[in-house]
Amino acid sequence: MKLITFSGPPSSGKTSVILQSIDALEVPVTEIGVVKFDCLTSFDQGRYQSKGVKVVTGFSGKLCPDHFFVSNIEAAVEWGVKSGFKILITESAGLCNRCSPYIQGILSVCVIDNLAGVNTPRKIGPMLKMADIVVVTRGDVVSQAEREVFAFNIRQVNTGARIIFVNGITGQGALLLAKNLWHAKEVDGLHEQRLRFTTPAAVCSYCTGEMRIGSEYQLGTMKKMEFKTD
């Protein structure tokens, strides 16, 4: 089974891009599975199902989405293999701009929205930096110049990625993306595989339910800002 991980900021068009590539892939939809990792709610389930794609959704809730991803991905792959899929796609929303649910050797795709502003690529971090393919959506509604500057800024943080513009509505560009997805490596499990990037460090008192504000309540991993007055 081929495994492909998709991530990207909320509402950047991940589901539309995945659905368009599913159309463009020459694989029966019944042989494609999707695992959606989300935080609180998700409305994508129906969109996949109406295409006939099998989907499982998991909510990280109060956990860090990256921690949630890594602790469930192995089982997700097992599910995919047992279901007899040819391709398993995971979709996760990066919330803290540091999320990076990518695994070494597994094809990683980051989806970002051209409307999000030209400097966005420089702010996203590992999710963009560590991706093999960067898909840009909504490039069709901004000027050519803004598309070029956007691609330039992506290149700045990720010199090696392939940048593909995909129109989530018309599917323009999805074919080229699909051709690349087809090169994803075959896996039959993920045990002992490694993430490409550390997940956000946690385990402080607030992770375990503390709600009060004040340094006496703060234990564990903390990071302090510096505020100077002149």
Partner: protein
């Protein structure tokens, strides 16, 4: 310049010297939130002084940053030289919406303006789409696009990565909150244009020639009117973009000098495709492609006698423009206004 060269440069030269040659390398450090690097040192020495904490947050260490810096120089150190150069584009016909074969093929050379005409829904935008993605029999039309007479390999598609085609359509807008000047400077910067200031000025002037309503360098791009935006996009494509193929999807009615716009683009050694319902534009091209029911039915050369009609058509167009402005300004129309 080869990659090894950049490795040596990064090892031996102080950062200040590298920056002098490649100012873009400042961005590399900003992207990693390294704000006060010691430019007088070589990269590795300078990194020794940088807060490890910050570097770690990006999941990097000193050696990785070094490698990435070399890759960065490699990617941006010689961008200006990589503008895709082509001589011709060939469309190998596919089929129309009913599956009937369309025209065999047609070839377009650099410097040509090709208009695309046909009823609404006929497939004009589809043809532009086929060209944009360099169709390989894999779109609904079954067309194939050749560059310089050859199929484009997947590898080459990527190498050209968006540098081949510049697009302009009615749904495109400016979304950056920048002034015209900042906007042009940013674009010039990403293109590593040598005479940036010159290009910016030229582009600004061209845009203002195209539109009736003038705008300033310090006007915000998001506040430009439809016509002004279109004018700036066209001027920008003509003056700054290095893409050899330009696809224009319906720019009519934008209150800009369309004939001038087309001439401006054609001057620049490009292949220009214009999908249009506008007689003035349709006859401004060297040839026009007629599309019916999804297929190309003919390619017509703009004859001398058609070209002679252009001046009259322009007068009609001016008359319509006058009527429109008059109505817009609350005026009353009378017969005299219809006369030239």
């Amino acid at each position: 310049m080869s990659r090894r060269n950049f490795l040596e440069i990064a090892v031996s030269q102080p950062l200040s010297q590298i920056r002098a040659e490649f100012p873009v390398c400042e961005d590399f450090f900003l992207n990693l939130r390294i704000e006060n690097i010691d430019w007088s040192l070589t990269l590795l020495n300078a990194l020794d002084k940088v807060d490890k904490e910050v570097i770690n947050e990006f999941g990097l260490d000193r050696e990785m940053i070094f490698r990435e810096f070399v890759a960065f120089l490699d990617a941006f150190g010689h961008v200006s030289a990589t503008a895709a150069e082509i001589k011709s584009l060939t469309v190998i016909g596919g089929h129309d919406k009913s599956g009937n074969a369309e025209i065999d093929s047609f070839c377009v050379a650099v410097g040509e303006i090709i208009c695309i005409v046909g009823p609404t829904g006929a497939g004009k935008s589809r043809l532009l789409g086929d060209i944009e993605c360099l169709a390989d029999g894999d779109t609904p039309t079954g067309r194939r696009i050749l560059i310089d007479g050859e199929m484009v390999s997947d590898q080459r598609r990527f190498d050209m990565e968006g540098k081949l085609v510049a697009q302009l359509s009615q749904n495109m807008n400016f979304v950056m909150d920048l002034t015209v000047e900042e906007f042009l400077r940013m674009h010039a910067g990403s293109r590593f244009i040598d005479d940036a200031e010159d290009s910016i000025k030229r582009c600004f002037e061209c845009a203002n020639q195209l539109t009736g309503e003038k705008f300033m360098m310090d006007t915000r791009v998001t506040q430009l009117s439809g016509g002004q935006s279109r004018a700036l996009m066209i001027a920008d494509t003509a003056c700054m973009s290095s893409s050899p193929i330009v696809l224009i999807d319906e720019i009519e009615n934008a209150g800009i000098d369309r004939r001038q716009a087309i001439r401006l683009l054609a001057r620049k050694e490009k292949i220009v495709f214009v999908s249009t319902h506008d007689p003035l534009l349709a006859l401004s091209g060297d040839r026009r492609i007629v599309i019916k029911n999804g297929g190309v039915v003919s390619v017509i050369e703009t004859s001398e006698s058609e070209k002679r009609c252009l001046d009259e058509i322009e007068k009609l167009d001016t008359t319509l423009f006058r009527l429109r402005s008059c109505l817009r300004n609350g005026g009353i129309i009378d017969m005299d206004m219809l006369k030239g």
